[in-house]
Assembly symmetry: C2
Homo-oligomer: 397 residues x 2
C-alpha cells in the first residue's frame, strides 16, 4: 500500500494539459487560460478625469471662464488657456493645457463663470495615461482559472476572444450487476446508481465534462466493451469492481485491453482499493464502489487530475485550520478522512466528526461540511486541539 | 446616505424566489432545490453485507459447508441452516437464517468447507435495512444549493428528475457614449466595455443567467428603449450613469418609464452612487460605472439578490478572520472595502491592503484576493490586528 501523497504524485505524473480552444469572453468564466493575455491598448488611453468637475490649470486660482464641456467619449478638441475651465466628467480626456481637475462639489458656478475657494494641487483628480495598464502588458498569465474580474480585465484590454484549455472529458463507468439508473425498473437486490451522478457533478464543478458511459454488468467482456467507449476522452474513471473480492473484474477486463497497472491500494480510509494505470495513453482511475469512498477519493485524486489536465497545477486539496469539537481516538496505519460538521466561531472554525463513520452512508456524507484529516498513526486528540480539515464546499464536492 | 446593511435589506425586501422547473439530475449540480426531496426507496433495501466474506449464524462456530454464492444483485433464494455458510459480497443481501458476516481475510476455505478461528459477534459486518435512509424520508430540504453529494443522494433515492428554481435572468445594461464592446472599432476617447462582462461572469458564478443588453449611449430615449428590453427578466442591472454629475441620465430615462426610486446613495467606498428601485415589478439595481465600484457593489448586493431570487436566503457575503499585514489609517464615515492580498500562514490568514486603492484600476482589482472590511469611523489599526475580510474566490468574484 502506498501513501495518499505518493498516489497523487503518481497519478499527476502521467497527466499533460489538454489542447486549447478560443472561446468568447462571455463563456470564459471558470476556464483556464492557455496563453498569457496581453493588452491591446493602454488604459486609460489618455490622461482622464477621475471625478466629475472642471479641468483647469493648477497655477491659476480662478475665477475661470467656462469654455465648454467634454462628456466622456467626446474629447474637447481645443487647448485650455489661462483663466479658463472646461466642464469634465469621470473618464473624460483632460484637454491640452489643463493639468488638474476641481471636483464639482468644490466650485460655484455663475453663468459662464466658475470659481473655487479650495487650493489646487497640480495633477489632482487625474488618472494618468497607462496608470492601469499599457498596450503589450501581460494582464493574465497562462494557467490561471479566470475569475469574473479577469474576464472584465480581458474585455477592457479589447479581447472579444480568449484562448483557454478545452474542458477535459472524463468518462465515468459504473460497473456491477446490481446497478440500475435512477427511474429504471429496480429488481430485487438492485441498487440505484449514485456514484456516477455524484462524480459527474464533481467533474463539472472542477471544470471538466462528464461522459456517463452505459452501466456495465459483472462480465469481463461487457466491462471491456464499455471501457472502449472512453476512446477520445482524457481520463477513464470506473467505480466498483476494485476490491480484493472475487468480483474485481475491472482489472481483469481492462487487463485484456492492455491495462498497464500502476497501483491499486492506498493506505487510506475510506477508499483503500483505488486503482491507477493507463490503457494505452488513456489514464485510468478506478474508484471504490462504496459511495463515501468514491467521493473522498475523488476529492483527493480526481480533482487534482482534472486541475492538471486543464492546465492548473494539480495538488492536494486546500485545507483550513479548525478546532476539534469532540475527542478523537488514535489513528491506525491508514490516513483517515472523517466526515464532520464545521461551525463558525468567534475566532475561526470548529470541526466535529460524526459519531458514525460508516462509509456506506450517503446521507451523512451529504450532510457533512468537511473531512477531518488524520495522518497515519496520529495520536488521540482532545476537543479543543488544532486540526486540518478539507472544507467540502471549497473543493467542488 | 444609508448604510450597507440597510441597503442590502431594502434590496432583498422586494425579491421573491423565481418559479420552479424540473431538471434531470445530470444538470442539477449548483441549482437550488425548490421542493424537499423525499426518498422513493429504503437504503439499504434489505440487510446487506458491508464486506466481502461469508454469511453465517453467529451462534455456530463452524466449520461450515459452503452452500452457494450471492453476488451483489443476485440474492440467494434459500434459508441458511446450521453449519452452513454462503459466499457473499459487499452489498449482497443477507440470506434468511444468517445473522453475521465473516470477512474473507478471516476464513480458510478447503473445497466446500469454510472455517474461521475468529469469534463472531452477532450482526457483525451487516448494514441494516434502512440504515442510510428510509422510503418517504426527506433527504434534501427545499432551498438548498445542490452539491455533487446531494446529486448522488437524490440519484440513490431513485429520482431521475429534481425540482429546482429556474436560474434568475439578470439583464445587464451598460450606458455611456464612450462605451464600445470588445473588438468593435474604438473611437478617440472611447472605452472598451468591461463592467458588463465582469458582471455577466459574476451572474453565472452566482447561478443566474446574464442577458447582455445592447450598450445605450447617453440619450434619455435610447436608455429607456434599451431598458425596455429587460422585460421578462428578473432584475435589471445598469452600470454607469448613476453619479451626481450632469450625466446621471439613467434615473431620468427610467423615471419616464415609471421608476419608483428607493435609494441612490450608500455610505460606502468604493461605490457610493448605487441606485435601487422598481420599474413596475422589475427590480432595478443601478451600479456605479467605475469598474472597481461596480464589482464591489455586485459582491455586496447583486450576489445576495441572485441568491434570494433563486430561493436561498440572501445575506451578507461570508467573511474570514485575518491578521492585518500592514497598518491601516482611521476610516471616515463611509464603510470601506480595501483591495488586499491574502496569504496563508501557519495559524490562518494575513491580509495586506494594496498601497493604491484607486477605484479605477482594474488590474489591481483582478490581482486582489480579498476585500478588507472597514466599518464607518473604524480606528487606525496596526499590522497584526485582527480584521474581517471577504475572500473574493468565496463569493464568485
Amino acid at each position: 500500500m502506498i501513501s495518499v501523497e505518493e498516489a497523487r504524485s503518481r497519478i499527476l505524473a502521467g497527466l499533460r494539459p489538454v489542447s486549447a480552444e478560443m472561446v468568447p469572453i462571455a463563456e470564459a468564466w471558470g476556464r483556464v487560460s492557455a496563453r498569457p493575455v496581453e493588452s491591446r491598448l493602454t488604459q486609460p488611453p489618455r490622461d482622464v478625469s477621475a471625478m466629475d468637475g472642471y479641468a483647469v490649470r493648477a497655477a491659476d486660482p480662478g475665477p475661470y471662464t467656462l469654455v465648454g464641456a467634454a462628456p466622456a467619449g467626446h474629447p474637447w478638441p481645443g487647448t485650455l488657456g489661462a483663466g479658463e475651465a472646461l466642464r469634465i466628467f469621470t473618464g473624460s480626456v483632460i484637454p491640452n493645457g489643463a493639468d488638474s481637475v476641481v471636483i464639482q462639489e468644490d466650485v460655484s458656478v455663475d453663468g459662464a463663470s466658475v470659481s473655487t475657494g479650495e487650493p489646487i494641487r497640480p495633477g489632482q483628480h487625474i488618472r494618468r495615461q497607462g496608470q492601469d495598464f499599457a498596450a503589450g502588458q501581460v494582464l493574465v498569465p497562462a494557467g490561471r482559472r479566470l475569475t469574473p474580474r479577469d474576464v472584465g480585465l480581458i474585455a477592457a484590454a479589447n479581447h472579444p476572444w480568449v484562448c483557454v484549455h478545452r474542458r477535459p472529458r472524463i468518462a465515468i463507468l459504473a460497473t456491477g450487476d446490481e446497478i440500475v439508473l435512477p427511474g429504471e425498473p429496480l429488481p430485487e437486490g438492485g441498487i440505484v446508481s449514485s456514484n456516477s451522478h455524484a462524480l459527474s457533478a464533481l467533474v463539472r464543478a472542477c471544470g471538466g465534462i462528464p461522459v456517463l458511459l452505459p452501466v456495465a454488468g459483472d462480465e469481463i467482456e461487457v466491462i471491456a466493451l464499455a471501457a472502449d467507449q472512453a476512446a477520445g476522452c482524457d481520463m477513464l474513471v470506473t467505480t466498483g469492481g476494485a476490491s480484493v473480492g472475487d468480483h474485481d473484474l475491472v482489472a481483469q477486463a481492462l487487463g485484456g485491453r492492455g491495462l498497464a497497472m500502476d497501483f491499486w491500494k492506498i493506505a487510506m480510509r475510506p477508499g483503500k482499493p483505488l486503482m491507477h494505470g493507463h490503457l494505452g495513453t488513456l489514464p485510468l482511475l478506478g474508484l471504490p464502489g462504496n459511495p463515501v469512498s468514491a467521493m473522498v477519493c475523488a476529492v483527493l485524486f480526481l480533482r487534482a487530475a482534472i486541475d492538471q489536465l486543464q492546465g492548473l497545477a494539480g495538488g492536494p486539496p486546500p485545507t483550513l485550520r479548525a478546532t476539534l469539537g469532540a475527542d478523537l481516538a488514535a489513528n491506525d496505519h491508514r490516513a483517515d478522512h472523517l466526515r464532520a460538521r464545521l461551525a463558525r466561531t468567534e475566532s475561526g472554525w470548529t470541526a466535529t466528526a460524526f459519531a458514525r463513520q460508516d462509509s456506506g452512508q450517503m446521507r451523512l456524507l451529504a450532510e457533512a461540511d468537511a473531512l477531518i484529516l488524520r495522518a497515519p498513526h496520529a495520536p488521540a486528540l482532545k476537543a479543543g486541539a488544532e486540526i486540518e480539515v478539507i472544507a467540502l464546499s471549497e473543493v467542488g464536492a
